[in-house]
């Protein structure tokens, strides 16, 4: 490489560096498959091979497109469409060659995020018996409990309000998938804390 060539490469490389850094900030925070390391580390470790996608028997894992910036080609889960069903043997995690997904032995090791209920939208809090999320949760009475109390200024009806325990909830999104309210859904997953992005 001659002098000019080296110079050109350095300038080109620097421009690419700045551009890519911008794109990295733009990679938005999404629900990653179980066992994903924190977002920055995940983006570094995932080789975008798609094996986790192919391994999931429920087709829950999607591959990110260009709207995800540098997350293009990385796996994510759209819980409303199909959540993580918390397979006993975690085939997605088993399939990952790079340890981008790792450290899961049992369901409670999963930490994809935490469910958040919008009390203004949730019909249970309006006085209707619903409890769908509560009954569908694989960690029933641990991750999600019912808060039962008399409806204020109403002596006949009671509220059976679901309450999340953020310590126990693994963020699988099954509750989101099953929620009977639409537009907006009354429960959603706040993805696990993403390093540097929150």
């Amino acid at each position: 490489m001659k002098g000019l060539g080296i110079l050109r490469t350095i300038i080109g490389g620097f421009a690419a560096y700045e551009l890519l850094k911008l794109m990295k900030a733009g990679s938005k925070q999404v629900l990653r498959p179980p066992g994903a390391s924190d977002e920055d580390e995940f983006l570094a470790l995932c080789t975008r091979c798609g094996k986790c996608n192919q391994a999931c028997p429920y087709k829950s894992i999607n591959m990110g497109n260009s709207t995800m910036g540098l997350g293009l080609g990385t796996p994510f889960i759209d819980a409303r469409e199909s959540p993580c069903w918390l397979c006993e043997d975690f085939p997605c995690f088993e399939a990952c060659p790079t340890t981008a997904l790792r450290d899961i032995e049992k369901r409670t090791d999963v930490d994809m995020g935490v469910a958040v209920i919008d009390k203004d939208v949730c019909i249970a809090y309006q006085g209707m018996r619903c409890e769908v999320c509560y009954r569908e949760c694989p960690l029933i009475d641990e991750a999600i409990k019912l808060d039962i109390y008399l409806k204020p200024d109403d002596n006949i009806h009671a509220i059976f309000g679901p309450v999340i325990d953020p310590e126990k909830c693994v963020g699988c999104g099954i509750c989101v998938h099953k929620c009977v309210v639409d537009n907006p859904v009354a429960i959603r997953i706040q993805p696990r804390e993403a390093g540097g992005l929150l």
Partner: protein
């Protein structure tokens, strides 16, 4: 008969079939004998990964994952022994696509063919690794047309397809086989280890009449055949040769063959030049 062409088309076809097999054999990976993409795959329980991708991930994450590196080492050693760019003409699905583009291109005589330096792709490969390290993301895995072709076939149509389109248009309107010849970092990576390969295109100078038929069809670049035709070398030394065999098929004087690299090289006067000579064939 175009023996090498037929052999290669068959291999290319089976490679694509192999990658698509999880779609029509069993839908869930792990139960199929094969699954994965060219970034990383598993065949009969053996993990195989792309060496450049594995290097990028290691540099980006600054973590050594031995199993992953081992799976890339298998692939790396295979191409190191055979010849680097064998990957390009026999395995890579982007090349399969661009060969179609090239055959379409042949029907239009007046298309320009801009030439670049053959070493650019090696520089890009180095750049990809350096940038991966500093940004902390395996850059080429994201934009790679190879990855994106497989994503489109296996996962959902439309991921990164604009990159593919750009490359096809570039090859068609600007530069013949331009992406593979000059820019692809995977090609650059394999080209850089190509010289070590034990299989080479050999020339019998007694039979060669310098008709230049071979140069017209060369996948990599016509200039890489020059030292052999000129009699400076007894085989194609350039790391860019992909052992596609097209030159052998094209040579009606049967001067070319693929065989083990000769131990002793004839004395030579001219160092093989990678600079493009601007010839148009």
């Amino acid at each position: 008969m175009k023996k090498w062409l037929i052999a290669r088309k068959l291999v290319q076809f089976f490679i694509i079939l192999l990658f698509l097999s999880p779609l029509f054999l069993v839908e869930v990976a792990g139960t199929n004998f094969f699954y994965g993409t060219l970034s990383s795959s598993e065949i009969f329980g053996i993990q195989l990964s792309d060496p450049l991708g594995a290097l990028s991930v290691t540099l980006a994450s600054k973590k050594i994952v031995w199993g992953f590196l081992g799976s890339a080492l298998i692939v790396f050693l295979f191409y190191l022994v055979i010849s680097g760019r064998v990957f390009c003409s026999w395995v890579c699905p982007v090349n399969t696509l661009l060969e179609l583009t090239d055959s379409l291109r042949k029907r239009f005589k007046k298309l320009p063919d801009v030439q670049f330096n053959l070493n650019i792709k090696i520089q890009i490969a180095v750049l990809v690794l350096v940038l991966s390290f500093f940004i902390g993301v395996p850059i080429f895995e994201i934009i790679s047309p190879i990855g994106n072709t497989l994503r489109n076939l296996l996962f959902v149509w439309g991921i990164g397809s604009f990159i593919l389109l750009a490359i096809v248009l570039f090859d068609f309107f600007v530069s013949k086989r331009g992406w593979c010849r000059y820019f692809c970092p995977v090609g650059g990576f394999y080209s850089s280890i190509g010289k070590a390969g034990q299989l080479r295109v050999k020339i019998d100078n007694e039979k060669c009449v310098s008709c230049m038929q071979c140069k017209k069809v060369c996948f990599s670049h016509p200039s890489i055949l020059d030292p052999a035709i000129n009699g400076d070398k007894t085989y194609v030394t350039s790391g860019d040769c992909s052992l596609c065999g097209a030159c052998i098929d094209a040579c009606s004087h049967e001067a070319l063959s693929i065989g083990l690299r000769p131990y002793r090289q004839k004395e030579y006067q001219i160092e093989i030049t990678n600079e493009v000579k601007g010839e148009k064939l």
